[in-house]
Every structure is written in structure tokens, then in C-alpha cells.
């Protein structure tokens, strides 16, 4: 066992991080919002980094890496709120042609998670195809055939939505076991993005606490603020451990129970992102409540990610069921 990042993993992580920092600095988020959340050029660059082909075997033209690598990459994308259906296109790679190169933009719907009565499709206008996870299998739907109403004002300005009143069944492209596997992969990847949010909100709050002055001193000198930050750090590290463990368990299921590891990661990382986003706003004071300071984007994206691949409450129940039978 060596639960640290390998040198390759560190390089992968810092590569994606410097791309994100350079290409979409936090200050630029409002501009991306203006463009409607999805930016083709950015999408292509993300694809060129191998984000979608990451886990496709090398023989099939992919990068040939595993879930442990994927969680590192997606934590970085989460840190900078990279817009677009990155998770779904990554999950579809190797299954839907063109997804691995990003040429085909794949969106998705999770109908395995507990809520199935309100169907909202993300980024519909930018999608080439839609992958639907149901308990009995994986389905593919042509988004152009959907009768869909745009949601006038989506909660997350970076995640445009359409409401679909009636969803056709679509073409079956995978069985129940495939659907489950993709769902757990998606849970780990969404958890990784939530970890990224927990990290960047701590980073923003830390920077602000070191610069904003009141009562003649930086607010980071007030213990009430320091302790908020310390708790954010703890949550970030708890989430990191759980997310890395989920990635490593998917890659090598001998070391644990994938269902349990992913549920734990999604739950714990969701918690960390939610609480850290709120704390980030609090540390910014009135500025935190403005549209201008990007803190709110992180909370809003957290709400989006919390709603897919199992909410915290759903995972609580799933884990309780596993614990109940001694798994």
C-alpha cells in the first residue's frame, strides 16, 4: 500500500491545475457566465488534455489511466468550476463514439438516484447526445427529439437547464450492471469535483482573511475567523481522504467495497463543499453576499452536484443498509 500520489499523479494534478488557473481564473467566471456556461474552445482544450479519454485503454486510443487519476483531474476541474457536461462525457468515453475526443458532447441524466419526477437536463443546447442511467440499463437519446422548455433562470448561472416533461425511453446501450458501474463512477467523480470546491472555497476565504482589515488588523487575526478556516481545512482533508479512497477502491475492488467507498466519498465531499461554500461567503462578509465576488458560484455548483449520483441523504440510507447487513 502506498496511499500517496505517485510522481505521475502529482504531475497530472499540477498539469491540470496550471491549465485551469491560467485558462479560467476565478475572476473570469462572470465572463463565462455571459457566454451561457458552455465554451466550445475551452471544451476542446479540456478534451486535448485527455480528460475524457483518461480511462479509455491505450489500445483504444485513450490515456489508459484509472479512477484514482480521474478523481485528481476532476477535483482540479471542480476547483475552477469548469463548465460543461464534463462528467457525463468522461463517463461515456469508450461507450459512445466521439466522447473520448470531446467531438461528441455527451450530457446525461441520472434516474438511478432517488428523485425521478422532475427531469432537468443540463447544457441541452450544447449536447450532441444524452446518456440516461436507469436501474435496468443505460440508454441513449437524441437530444434534438426532446420536447424541452428552457429554465428561464437556472440556480447555477454556469449550468443552463431544460425542463423535459416527457422523456422517451431511448436506445438501450448497456445493461443494469453497466448502469450501476457508471453510476458509482459518476458518484466518485462528482465527489472529486465537490472536493475541488471545498478546496477553492478555503483558498478564497484564506486569501480574503489575510487581506481584509477591520479594527486595525487583518480579519484572519480574529480567532472566530481562524477557527472557521481551520474547520474548513479539516473538512477538506476528510473529503480528500474519502475521495482518494473511492478512486483507489474502484481501481482495485479487492481493497474494499466500491458501493460503500463511493457513497462515503459522495456524502463526505458533499458535506465539505456545502459547508465550505457557506463559510467562504461568511468570511467575505457583505462582499460574500454580492454577485461580484465569486463565492456564490461555488455554493450554487455544489447544489447542482449534490443533486446527481445520489444526494447526501440517499447515500446515508445506502450506507446504513450496508452497515445493517455487516458489509
Amino acid at each position: 500500500m502506498d496511499f500517496q500520489l505517485t510522481e505521475d499523479q502529482q504531475a497530472l494534478q499540477s498539469g491540470v491545475r496550471s491549465f485551469c488557473d491560467g485558462r479560467i481564473p476565478v475572476e473570469q467566471l462572470p465572463e463565462i457566465v455571459e457566454q451561457g456556461g458552455f465554451d466550445r474552445d475551452l471544451w476542446r482544450e479540456v478534451a486535448e488534455m485527455g480528460v475524457f479519454a483518461l480511462r479509455v485503454p491505450e489500445d483504444d486510443g485513450g490515456v489508459g489511466l484509472g479512477a484514482a487519476d480521474a478523481v485528481l483531474v476532476f477535483a482540479e476541474l471542480g476547483r475552477r468550476l469548469v463548465p460543461g457536461p464534463t462528467i457525463w462525457t468522461h463517463l461515456a468515453a469508450g461507450r459512445i463514439e466521439g466522447a473520448d475526443t470531446g467531438d461528441v458532447v455527451v450530457g446525461g441524466l441520472d434516474l438511478i438516484g432517488e428523485q425521478r419526477d422532475v427531469i432537468l437536463v443540463e447544457y441541452l443546447d450544447s449536447l450532441d447526445t444524452l446518456m440516461v442511467l436507469r436501474e435496468d440499463g443505460v440508454y441513449q437519446i437524441d437530444p434534438r427529439t426532446l420536447k424541452a422548455e428552457p429554465v428561464a433562470v437556472p440556480l447555477d448561472p454556469l449550468t443552463p437547464l431544460h425542463h423535459v416533461a416527457e422523456l422517451p425511453l431511448g436506445d438501450r446501450i448497456g445493461d443494469a450492471a453497466d448502469a450501476t458501474r457508471i453510476w458509482f463512477d459518476g458518484g466518485a467523480i462528482a465527489a472529486a469535483q465537490l472536493l475541488g470546491i471545498a478546496e477553492s472555497t478555503l483558498e478564497l476565504a484564506t486569501q480574503y482573511a489575510l487581506t481584509r482589515e477591520q479594527f486595525g488588523r487583518i480579519i484572519g487575526g480574529f480567532q472566530a475567523v481562524k477557527h472557521i478556516l481551520a474547520d474548513m481545512f479539516v473538512r477538506q482533508e476528510v473529503a480528500r481522504a474519502a475521495v482518494y479512497a473511492a478512486g483507489a477502491t474502484i481501481d482495485d475492488p479487492v481493497v474494499g467495497d466500491v458501493a460503500r467507498a463511493v457513497s462515503s466519498a459522495k456524502l463526505v465531499a458533499g458535506d465539505a463543499a456545502m459547508k465550505n461554500s457557506r463559510a467562504c461567503i461568511q468570511v467575505h462578509g457583505g462582499m460574500g453576499y454580492t454577485w461580484e465576488v465569486p463565492a456564490h458560484y461555488f455554493l450554487k455548483r455544489t447544489w447542482v452536484l449534490e443533486s446527481v449520483f445520489g444526494t447526501g441523504e440517499e447515500h446515508e440510507m445506502r450506507i446504513a443498509d450496508l452497515v445493517s447487513v455487516g458489509r
Binding site: 496511499f3 476528510v238 482495485d252 441523504e313 440510507m317
Partner: protein, 395 residues
């Protein structure tokens, strides 16, 4: 990023597990907490068995009789100790986790020879005399005075919260050797607990049991040869020790919380609320699910931290984050356990076939976790200052 134990680790696990499965039941049940001689005999007897079987000092260097196990073997060790329900380290805690490691790192050859092998075999019990009524979180404010007189220091002062003082042969004693300096005026002494002038007065805890004591020192003579490190360099020596405390000292206890949660679930399935079991309550199941996720995350955090310390050789600052999270999580589990007991939790002894004694003992003991070895507030100071770079509090 690999979580699979090596074949060698698994062989180690199998051997250790087989040994524990025989040795643990054979060692019998722990004696009453009030009976210090019996507690000492029980805990040191177990330490001796560990020693004879080659498992004592799992992380100690070989040259001092330790096993010097690889970090992953240490993780296996903590998991197996927890799984087998092996005796708690008990009165050996200070010797094995503070005194011994400090002497190994800082002691003279003679000090090492006089103490280290004995601690390892369970023949010497140590306690820690750091805190004072006026120096708790602000430990460096301690005022117990040591004045040189020939080859001795003459020590006067008042220590408090000394765990295991009643069972101990030696104490790690922090004294002030220079009253004009704060951190730079402290020395670290080996205190024989039978020295004339020592008065040990037990201080009952809220559990109602003896755990720690006050120690009064009146003209106690401690040979200068018992000083570890240079005069007035005791603060640095102390920090060598405290770092160990915040590392993996509680790893087995952390892992063991899973068993506690399983036990709690078992009870929830038996007790009733109206005409259903407590386990039928979805809110309770969710809480259990949440705690279980956090326990798994805690153990993953320990693994991550242990693997990272291969590079640095000592537990890092991440130990503060682990301690903060563990203390709070343990308190939440035991709070839930008491709720599951319901009215049965009003009895300190088992009642109606429910494990009141065990659950309540844990619920009460867990309160000390956010106080002892650096309160949670102090840990938050450490994290925000040393990791996040916030301005430092007054020292």
C-alpha cells in the same frame, strides 16, 4: 495511490491475528478502574506478552528492541488490535508513546539503558507531569521551579491531570530552570515517582473513576543526570514528544469505532419506540449512515497521513486535523449511542439486557478527547496558523 496491502503485510496480519485470537481471550477481562495495582498488573502483563511475541514497540527502532515495522504493517497492527478487542495500551501509554520515544530521540546512553528496555517489557510505568493549575493550554507558562544544588535539582511546584500517576514509576517532568524566560527557561527531567517530597492526590474524573492525579512537589531532589536535553532546552524536547501524541497514538481506537457503531446498530434493532424498533426510524438510520461514512473517511485519512509520513519520518501537522475530526466524531457516536439506549442509559450498569455500562463509559470518556493533549480550540489555532498562515495568538 494504492490501498492494497502487500502480500508481506497480509502474512504479518495473519500471524498477528492468529496470535491475538489466542492471547486476547487468555488475558481475561480488565479489572475495575478503581483498582490501580490490578490495572497496572493487567496492562503491563499485556505489554509483556506483546514483547515476548515480538509485537511490542511496533514503531520503535530495532536497536531499542522495537519491531520497526513498516508503516503499512503498523496500520495492519492497529487494525488487528482493534478487530481482536485487545487490551488498551492503558498505563503503558506515556512510556510507550511519549517517554520512551523522547528518550530514544534525546536521552543519554545511560538514560536510554535505564529506561527504554524496561518500558518496552512492561516493567516501568511512566506518567506525564506537564500541566499545572496555571499552565494548561499555555503549557510554557509552567512555574514548577527547579533550582540547581550540587548534582541535584531541588524541585517545588504543583502538577495536575497526571494520568496514571498512581501506577507510575517515573514521570516526565517539565520544570522551570530560568524564571526570566518563558519557552527558553524550561527543562525536561526524569522524575522517580517514589522520590521523597512527592505527594500524589487522586482527582476523580466525571466518569467517577481514578484516571489522573494532582502531584505536589516539595523540595524534591532530582539528579541533574536525570535531565533530558540541555538545561532550558526542555521546550524543544517536549515538542518531540507532543508530535507523537498527535500522530497515530489513537489509531486503534479510531479503527475500533467501527465495531462500536456496529454494536450500536445491534442495539437499535432490539430496542423499541412505540411499536417499531429504533432501527425502523429512517432518521436514525441516516445518522448511522453519515457517521459510518465519516469513520471510513477518518481511517482513509489515517492511511494517507501515515503514508505521507514516510517522507518526513514524523507525523505531520495533519495530525491536528485528524485529532479534531476524531474527537468530534467519537463524541457524536457516543451521543447517538446514549440516545439509542433511551431510559436504559440512565443506569451506569447494564439494565434490561442493554450495554449501558459500555455505552455510557464511552459517552463520558469521549468528552475528554477535545480537551486532553491540546484542546480542540488549540488544534484549530495550530491548523489556522501553521497550515493556513493566519497571524499567531499570543504565546
Amino acid at each position: 495511490m494504492d490501498l492494497r496491502y502487500s502480500e508481506q503485510d497480509e502474512i504479518f496480519r495473519a500471524e498477528l491475528g492468529a496470535w491475538l485470537d489466542e492471547a486476547v481471550p487468555a488475558h481475561g477481562k480488565p479489572p475495575s478502574k478503581a483498582d490501580w495495582p490490578a490495572r497496572r498488573a493487567y496492562d503491563t502483563g499485556w505489554q509483556r506478552k506483546l514483547f515476548d511475541a515480538g509485537y511490542a514497540g511496533i514503531n520503535w527502532p530495532k536497536e531499542f528492541g522495537g519491531r520497526d515495522a513498516s508503516l503499512t504493517e503498523q496500520l495492519v497492527y492497529y487494525e488487528e488490535i482493534a478487530r481482536a478487542g485487545a487490551p488498551y495500551i492503558g498505563v503503558n501509554f506515556v512510556g510507550m508513546l511519549h517517554g520512551g520515544p523522547t528518550l530514544i530521540a534525546e536521552g543519554t546512553p545511560e538514560q536510554k539503558a535505564n529506561h527504554v528496555p524496561f518500558i518496552l517489557r512492561g516493567e516501568q510505568v511512566w506518567c506525564q507531569g506537564f500541566s499545572e493549575p496555571g499552565a494548561g493550554s499555555d503549557l510554557a507558562a509552567l512555574s514548577t521551579r527547579a533550582v540547581r544544588d550540587g548534582d541535584d535539582y531541588v524541585v517545588n511546584g504543583h502538577k495536575i491531570w497526571c494520568s496514571f500517576a498512581q501506577a507510575a514509576d517515573y514521570g516526565e517532568l517539565l520544570v522551570r530552570t530560568n524564571p526570566d524566560e518563558k519557552h527558553a527557561g524550561i527543562s525536561w527531567l526524569i522524575l522517580p515517582m517514589d522520590a521523597p517530597g512527592l505527594d500524589i492526590r487522586p482527582l476523580p474524573t466525571l466518569v467517577g473513576e481514578g484516571e489522573f492525579s494532582e502531584v505536589f512537589l516539595e523540595d524534591v531532589r532530582v539528579p541533574v543526570a536525570n535531565r533530558v536535553g540541555e538545561e532550558n532546552d526542555g521546550w524543544r524536547v517536549t515538542n518531540v514528544t507532543l508530535r507523537f501524541e498527535r500522530g497515530t497514538a489513537f489509531a486503534s481506537e479510531m479503527y475500533q469505532l467501527r465495531e462500536f457503531l456496529a454494536e450500536l446498530v445491534g442495539v437499535a434493532k432490539r430496542v423499541t419506540r412505540h411499536d417499531a424498533t429504533a432501527w425502523d426510524d429512517a432518521a436514525l438510520r441516516r445518522e448511522v449512515g453519515h457517521i459510518s461514512a465519516e469513520l471510513d473517511a477518518l481511517w482513509a485519512m489515517v492511511k494517507l497521513s501515515v503514508c505521507q509520513s514516510t517522507q518526513t519520518g514524523v507525523p505531520g501537522l495533519g495530525g491536528s486535523a485528524i485529532k479534531l475530526f476524531y474527537s468530534e466524531l467519537y463524541q457524536r457516536i457516543s451521543e447517538l449511542a446514549v440516545r439509542v439506549l433511551g431510559r436504559a442509559g440512565l443506569s451506569r450498569e447494564d439494565v434490561a439486557g442493554l450495554p449501558s455500562e459500555h455505552f455510557l463509559a464511552r459517552a463520558m470518556q469521549s468528552l475528554s478527547l477535545s480537551i486532553a493533549a491540546g484542546t480542540s480550540q488549540i488544534q484549530r489555532n495550530i491548523v489556522s496558523e501553521r497550515i493556513l498562515g493566519m497571524p499567531k495568538e499570543k504565546r
